[in-house]
């Protein structure tokens, strides 16, 4: 693990370094965790000092934040947004609900395990995670990027069939444009 950074070529190192220090986050508040995003980005916690800033559209974004539980209706939109993002892309999942459903484990309208539908890089535990935890999560992601291990988009592409099957299982009304991944 420690050796990984040294084994990178110079070009890879520069790429990963720049990716690490410039994370554009997708402004999509999918669940209640979104309430701590403004706090994270504004003056007290100031995520911009780490190079984190908001992006308005998926084309420009690097990080997709899944801020909490996903209703199936939202899941569909999240998949679309995620697929429209440009590689390399990362996913950070907030809160217990994305890990195992959390307090909504028995709700008929939310998904329980996010990992089944899109690949996740970093989970931030808690409900809701404090801004400090969010920033710690970001730093974890940054470390992962610097090590060159964050390959979310590739993972998704390689296991597309599996993800698609899972997605189809929960989204009954699948009316999505086709992508030639």
């Amino acid at each position: 693990m420690e050796n990984k950074r040294n084994s990178q070529t110079i070009a890879e190192y520069i790429k990963n370094w720049s990716r690490k220090h410039s994370l554009f986050i997708m402004a999509y508040g999918t669940g209640c965790g979104a309430i701590e995003i403004p706090a994270t980005l504004t003056s007290r916690y100031d995520a911009e000092r780490l190079g984190i800033r908001g992006a308005a559209t998926p084309r420009q974004a690097d990080v997709l934040l899944i801020t909490g539980y996903l209703a199936t209706k939202t899941l569909k939109r999240v998949i679309r947004v995620y697929e429209q993002m440009q590689d390399p892309k990362y996913v950070i999942a907030f809160g217990s609900c994305t890990i195992n459903g959390g307090m909504y484990y028995d709700s008929y309208n939310t998904i329980n395990v996010l990992e089944k539908y899109i690949p996740v890089d970093v989970y931030i535990n808690g409900c809701m995670p404090r801004p400090e935890a969010v920033i710690a999560g970001f730093q974890q992601l940054q470390d992962k990027i610097a090590r060159g291990e964050a390959d979310n988009g590739t993972r998704y592409k390689e296991n597309l069939e599996w993800y698609r099957a899972n997605q189809h299982r929960v989204i009954k009304n699948w009316r999505m444009p086709d992508y030639n991944w």
């Binding site: 999509y28 569909k76 999240v78 947004v81 030639n180």
Partner: protein, 621 residues
């Protein structure tokens, strides 16, 4: 036989032939017209180096026809556009009815335009002018649709112009006793005409109608948008230039080089008229631009844009300095080229899609790439963005205005040409960009005979953007005919009287190099894994649009701008004319009551009219 007469004869007999051939087959007239224009053009270009002149007399009137450098300048426009338009026309008109009358009038108007510019006497000038007016009118109402809406304004305005011109001609004849143009110019030089200003202004009114100068422009949007596109390119490109041709003669030869500048009154009035005209041109440009950018129909938009562009040309002529006239003539030629190309492109869209309503079409870029290319080039030229030739004309116009001290006029011109970006984008976006819809999925590129003329025009724009000297040369000769001396020009360098210059070669080289670098960098870097996607694959906030939902922004494109400029849109000139017309109708109603049916009363009226006329004329003389 003299070539000039031969060319005229070819066109007029070609017109007859075209009409007659339509009785045999509906496909024939197009080829006849193409053949005729080709013959005429070849004849002209074979012979125009020689000084051509012809004079003969019919029923006691001496008619003189001759070629000069100013004439040749406009002949280039007429024949260049004429031959391309007739080539374009063959396929464009393919499935339309009544081709016989269309082509007959088409050839008549081209022939009569040539007749106008070679006429060296007022009689043939006026006759050809009227033939041109009538033939174009017949094309405007050719399909019988919207005669009252579209044709009537054209006829009314043309009539005003024709009467003004006729009055002027009669007045000139009463002064100098001949109809010869040369005699008129000589008389002007010697200050032998008493009411020269009246004559000039009447002539200017006659020409302003064809040049669609405000407030005489209202026929133009209707007429332009109602004609088949193959003729509209000639209509807007060449026919409107006849007004410019005449205005150039009056404004430069009569006002500027009359040898009367020492006469204080005369100088004052001519200066005043020039200024009024220049401002009229400016206002025309501004208002027409504002109207153009609210249009929904591409043809109408181009029609208003034509009016605006002619406004710039009129400004240049009215300012009358060397640079200004040069810019005006350059813009006149360029306008013929890019507006010809644009009307052809829109015509191609009309033929392939069936409509030119920009709220109904979108995303044709992949279906009609050549048409898009032509439109793009023409629009860049129209907007005056370097490195295409529109910029050259605009640059000279601005420099002429600034160096001449027309500071506020330059702001008006700048306003209108900045606002022109809005409608330029409107037409590009409206037809070619935006969502690619399924209902235009079957659309194919226009046939080659339509694309080739357009592409030729576009290439001309590109070449003259860097080498405007190609066009400057005939312009300089033409300006020498108008009376300018030492007209200097350079192949690739523009310069004004203050000595500031733009080197176009450097401009286009820099743009080319920078663009190539960017192209290489962007295209070859990270090319792998990039896929072209359709316009359906856009970020609609994560949502998936429904089938019937429209994702192209089409309606009321520049609404905020309209709101901001609301006072400028308040009063339409058409409305004013309609008010006047209503007033006149009431007046005529009243007049009709005077007609009692009694012969004696009529006699009294006639006598009273003659007496009044006599008094008026006496006072005037």
């Amino acid at each position: 036989m003299n070539t000039l007469a031969l060319i005229i004869l070819i066109f007029f007999s070609g017109a007859t032939l075209a009409y007659l051939s339509s009785l045999i087959s509906n496909k024939l007239p197009g080829w006849v017209a193409l053949l005729t224009t080709m013959t005429g053009t070849v004849l002209f270009y074979m012979s125009f180096q020689n000084e051509q002149a012809l004079s003969f007399s019919i029923i006691g009137l001496n008619l003189e026809w001759a070629l000069d450098n100013y004439t040749i300048l406009f002949a280039h426009i007429i024949f260049g556009l004429g031959i391309l338009a007739s080539l374009y026309s063959v396929q464009y008109m393919q499935n339309k009815s009544q081709q016989g009358s269309f082509y007959a009038n088409f050839l008549l108007s081209i022939g009569s335009m040539f007749g106008i510019i070679i006429s060296k006497d007022f009689i043939s000038f006026f006759i050809f002018w009227e033939i041109m007016t009538w033939s174009s009118f017949l094309i405007v109402v050719w399909n019988g649709i919207g005669f009252r809406k579209n044709g009537i304004w054209y006829m009314a305005m043309s009539a005003i112009g024709a009467y003004a011109m006729l009055t002027a001609i009669v007045l000139i004849n009463s002064e100098i006793g001949t109809y010869s143009l040369q005699a008129f110019f000589n008389a002007v030089q010697e200050n032998a005409i008493d009411n020269l200003m009246l004559v000039s202004i009447l002539l200017l009114i006659g020409f302003a109608v064809k040049a669609a100068l405000m407030p005489l422009h209202i026929w133009a949007p209707r007429a332009y948008s109602n004609t088949p596109a193959s003729y509209t390119s000639v209509f807007s490109g060449a026919l409107s230039k006849m007004g410019v041709f005449g205005m150039g003669l009056v404004l430069i030869r009569v006002f500027r080089f009359s040898g009367l500048q020492d006469n204080f009154d005369y100088a004052l009035v001519s200066q005043f008229t020039s200024h009024v005209l220049a401002w009229l041109g400016g206002i025309t440009a501004a208002i027409a631009t504002l109207y153009a950018l609210v249009q929904k129909d591409a043809k109408k938009l181009l029609a208003y844009s034509s009016i605006a562009q002619l406004g710039y040309i009129v400004i240049g002529l009215a300012i009358g300095t060397k640079l200004a006239v040069m810019s005006a003539l350059f813009l006149a030629i360029m306008h013929a080229v890019f507006k010809g190309a644009l009307f052809m492109a829109v015509g191609a869209v009309e033929r392939q899609v069936g409509t030119t309503d920009m709220t109904k079409i979108s995303g044709l870029i992949r279906r009609m790439p050549w048409t898009f290319f032509v439109t793009l080039v023409s629009i860049i030229a129209l907007a005056g963005v370097p490195p295409l030739s529109g910029f050259v004309g605009k640059w000279m116009l601005y420099e002429a205005l600034i160096t001449n001290g027309n500071f506020f006029l330059v702001v008006v011109v700048f306003f209108s040409s900045t606002a022109a970006f809005l409608y330029s984008y409107r037409i590009l976006f409206g037809l070619f960009l935006g969502q690619e819809e399924d209902d235009t999925a079957h659309v194919k590129e226009a046939p080659a005979t339509m694309v080739i003329p357009m592409v030729i025009l576009a290439l001309f724009l590109i070449v003259t953007g860097t080498y405007p000297g190609i066009v400057f040369e005939p312009i300089a000769h033409g300006m020498e005919y108008l009376g300018f001396t030492d007209v200097t020009w350079n192949m690739t360098v523009l310069s004004n009287v203050w000595g500031d210059s733009v080197n176009l070669q450097y401009v286009s080289t820099t743009i080319g190099v920078a663009f190539m670098l960017a192209l290489i960098f962007l295209t070859f870097k990270g090319r792998k894994g990039t896929r072209g996607v359709s316009t359906k694959d856009i970020s609609t906030s994560g949502e998936i649009p429904l089938e019937h939902e429209n994702l192209t922004f089409q309606l009321d494109f520049f609404k905020p701008f309209e709101r901001a400029a609301a006072p400028l849109y308040k009063r339409s000139i058409t409305k004013i004319y309609e008010d006047v017309a209503n007033g006149l109708e009431a007046l005529f109603d009243f007049t009709r009551k005077i007609y009692t049916g009694n012969g004696q009363t009529y006699a009294i009226y006639v006598v009273a009219f003659l007496v009044t006329l006599l008094i008026v004329v006496q006072n005037m003389l």
